[in-house]
């Protein structure tokens, strides 16, 4: 279970990335953030953001049109 969940379902570019950036500011190093998005652009945008910001994407899966990302804050 992630330390914080960000619900970005229904939101379009660039909002999922912005919500993730806001969410990561509310957790501390080593904690995890789960993001749920329906925007297909998030499939590439969120992993790219995590990599560039130095956070690690622990898990990523899609089910029933919803994309889940679990990011550990660096």
């Amino acid at each position: 279970m992630a330390d914080k969940v960000v619900d970005a379902r229904g939101l379009q570019c660039p909002m999922p990335v912005i919500k993730v950036a806001q969410g990561i500011n509310e957790i501390t190093s080593g904690q995890t953030l789960e993001v749920i998005a329906t925007d297909n652009g998030a499939l590439s945008d969120i992993p790219a953001w995590s990599k560039d910001m130095g956070h690690s994407l622990k898990e990523q899966f899609s089910q029933e049109g919803e994309h889940h990302f679990i990011i550990e804050k660096s």
Partner: protein, 197 residues
Amino acid sequence: MRMFAYVYMSTSEETVMTTTDLEDAVAAAGEAAAENTVPQKEKMVLIAASGDLDKAWPVMILATTGAAYGMDVTVFFTFWGLGILKRPDAGITGDDWRQKMMSVFKKGSPDGLQLSTMNFGGIGAKLMKDLADDKKVASVQELLELAQGMGVKLWPCQMTMDLMGLTIDDMIPGLDQPAGAGSAISLMKEASISLFI
């Protein structure tokens, strides 16, 4: 730490070094350490030169995303791009009849922008905004407010404001001081991303 050790060794070997020299060296080492601990944020500069909805939108999307990337983002609004920042109730602006005429035909405001093609006297822009609303795409107005909340700097171009007879009171609140091309170049020289949109 290495720096301090070096200072200590050199004083023990070279007795000519005075206390003042040592203090200066320690101060320099301290400053160097302070510089290392505060990483300089990467900079992004966007030049918003168009007041078209289809240009203002990507400007604000990139500005907010840059801020989400932890970058120090500045958007410089010039020529018709200034229209994005005009207050919806600014009315007829300027003193000169030509300025007044321009303000009638080019109203601007974050919510009043028009499409560059397929506008059909405003119907196209209305359809596009309704569509964006249905698809939950954030509007220019929403992105602008979001950008301000994320610390994006919004610079109106001083020269264009003077040319069009606009004052800071004709603009939406929360803008930075009007600036010129020199300030924009100075920022772009250091920026890792600079775009003219």
